[in-house]
Symmetry: D2
């Protein structure tokens, strides 16, 4: 039941969750892929088109309000007349584990730029469109899904900046769920608790190298699609996902 | 893709979640319905059979180890050779809102009997079967799903006993997830945050009587089925569900 | 500023937290010590008296409503005319780590007897007295303090019963705080996250045997006294305590 | 037991918590008060001096690394040779309740500037000093206390930015507790759940205008002092405080 009058936008696509989510949602909707660099989405766009779907990729610095506004303009032209069915924010900052005193203020800015500010701008850009879609008889309630991590609920030692960003993202998402849920927009947050199984992580000895010890990005995409299809009488605001062998 | 070599057992069926879960799982598996009184499951069993499915109902006091053992014996005879695909514990005690000092110790026993002890016995009865199913190439990982409520994460005033039971159930489920997840059994807990939309609640002025202001039991059942189908690389341990207009 | 018109009752005294709390509160109030066996409180009672304080010990099976009622009768006689300033529930069940399938239903009953039922009875016994004290111009708001543990907020693998009991206790306490706080009674829950430093644990190689790697029972007692002295404009409902080197 | 070889620094002083904390800690230590404007600390400094204590105030934009570095330089000169006993971060951003779509990116920056970045810089500035104090035989473990709010654990509707900042602050603090606790520095976070009772809020009809329905800033200061005096065998990482009549 592909729908041509609605589209989906996925911010933060690459080799993992973003790619799988794009492929999944593209089975039903024309999709827009946002990533900093074309090489992050070119192959995915091609793959979707080869399978008969519609997709456009737009190079976007998600931490920049101007860049996101420009992307939205491009979408308006390319997908003129289409309403927004789902917006997925899957971007994450590039600040990892480090002793606190070795971080710089610039690290903090970097950590908050994509996580907190990027989501903030993304939500301000697409929530008005999601609200418009509520009355357009969509098959499923318009949906905003935000990807979180273990660090969304736990400030571990030496993950100060990463946790600050992810906690902030969770706060924003929770607040948006409480403000826009009653208006008919489904706002959900996921806690991805484990390492995604992608080429880059394949050799990592996670969970003693056990089979399925890393998270399948396709399984995450299935969950995101499931969230999107929930009726408004039973919205899930938050769910976790982790490999069966993950310690938690 | 109905499967005749596996079955599902649902404890606590009536007009709401249990009924919908039974109908949903019966599309794929022969099901067993456990409830205190036959009138709670008779119509559902008939409905499933009329639709071409298989179902048996067994009158069971879930708080009694003997009664649950007897039910398991009956299942063994009726569904000889079938392995267990999914076990759903949806039972709840009958102790509601009351000033703490008006409760009796008997109220507490009642509150803990079905919630804590019932789940304990249920898990001890069916986890060994779920473990056996892990190696039987099931389509989906063997699953134990437990129904929680708002009171699972919040001890509200005058809900002391209800919250004690629900917190205990959540603790048990979390502990089981950590022990049996790594062995391949998916253990999940749900937080149903709202009033279920069933005949008994139809006239309740919940959420100002707004449309879809109560939770659709069918939507809950869809979520339970979705949990059951998650691959072991991405198990969800806990999710919430509430109507879009519910305060939280 | 010892006060002879008020008393304190501490349930669950032995070598650790209970003893320290009793000694601490006995500096201000006559105290009552409840424990199953006289050898658990005899020395503490003697120590308090030697220091010029007042103390009585009463052998009490806390899981029994009759036993607690009998203890309350004894208190009424021994401390006639005194009002209750503070009640501390520090008892814990005797069910530890074990694979879930090796537990019996009796284990569960044991686990819930002291934790859930014991606190329930204790709260029903002493909350009416605490309410009466609100208007008796006490130096500090009447207080109910309940001891929790790591397992109060985390259902770890193989700690199913212990966690069920502790979660239930936390639920009860939270609910009581919300019901009795507005009436002027301070209800607080503590999360003791670590091993108490007592003779029995002295040789345990906790936290690599580091100095102060176990929790000082006196430090816990100081916290309980601090909670008791908080004015009603700033009640703490929950706090954690752990050694500086404890992983969490 | 005033100590002249140690000092305390309090960031974010004004009419409420900061003032009371400064007065409380000034009974034992020379104190430094940081606030954007002199009128926020001038009277407090005078009050402390009049009572025989030592205090200096420094105008500081806490969100600026340069400003905080400059303040630290001033402290080094004024309190030459003194070691740091306690650092309290009590600053909060000025972004309140507003529909999400009416916020600007500048609001977000403002919200994160004082909350997240300000604390980050403060912690980087004073943690090295706190670490040095560990071996200087302080009466109490060196302490970093951070003030949080209801919004630290709950993203309410229309409090998106405030919650994002407070969640981020909580994440930072939690991460610092896990990294610096084992090194002997006590890092604690408080959840102030209610309206502080200060001249500006006196007329607010909070909690139906009930007596003690707002939080006493002095009571908060007592809790901060209590946290500071906890021995390292029993550090509290987080505690909440609210008026007895506050809904939660």
């Amino acid at each position: 039941m592909a729908s041509n009058s609605f589209y989906a936008v996925i911010a933060g696509v690459g080799a993992g969750t973003g790619r799988s989510v794009a492929l999944k949602f593209a089975k039903t909707y024309p999709v827009v892929l946002l990533a900093r660099k074309p090489e992050s989405y070119n192959d995915i766009v091609a793959e979707i088109k080869a399978a008969g779907g519609q997709a456009i990729g737009i190079s976007t610095d998600l931490s920049s309000a101007d860049a996101q506004a420009s992307a939205a303009e491009t979408i308006k032209k390319e997908y003129a007349g289409k309403k927004l069915a789902a917006a997925v924010y899957n971007a994450s900052g590039g600040v990892g584990r480090k002793p606190f005193l070795e971080h710089t203020v610039e690290d903090l800015e970097t950590g908050l730029a994509v996580n907190a500010r990027g989501l903030f701008i993304f939500a301000q850009t697409y929530l008005p469109q999601l609200l418009e879609s509520v009355d357009a008889s969509p098959a499923h309630p318009p949906t905003l899904i935000v990807t979180g991590a273990t660090a969304s609920v736990r400030g571990s030692a030496k993950f100060s900046i990463f946790a600050a960003g992810k906690f902030a993202v969770r706060a924003l998402t929770q607040s948006l769920a409480r403000e826009f849920g009653p208006q008919g927009v489904h706002v959900a947050h996921t806690i991805i608790d484990g390492v995604i199984d992608i080429p880059r992580t394949r050799a990592w000895p996670v969970n003693d190298g056990k089979e399925d010890g890393k998270i399948s990005a396709d399984a995450i995409a299935d969950s995101y699609w499931y969230l999107h299809t929930q009726p408004r009488s039973a919205f899930t605001q938050e769910l976790d996902m982790r490999p069966y062998v993950e310690k938690f």
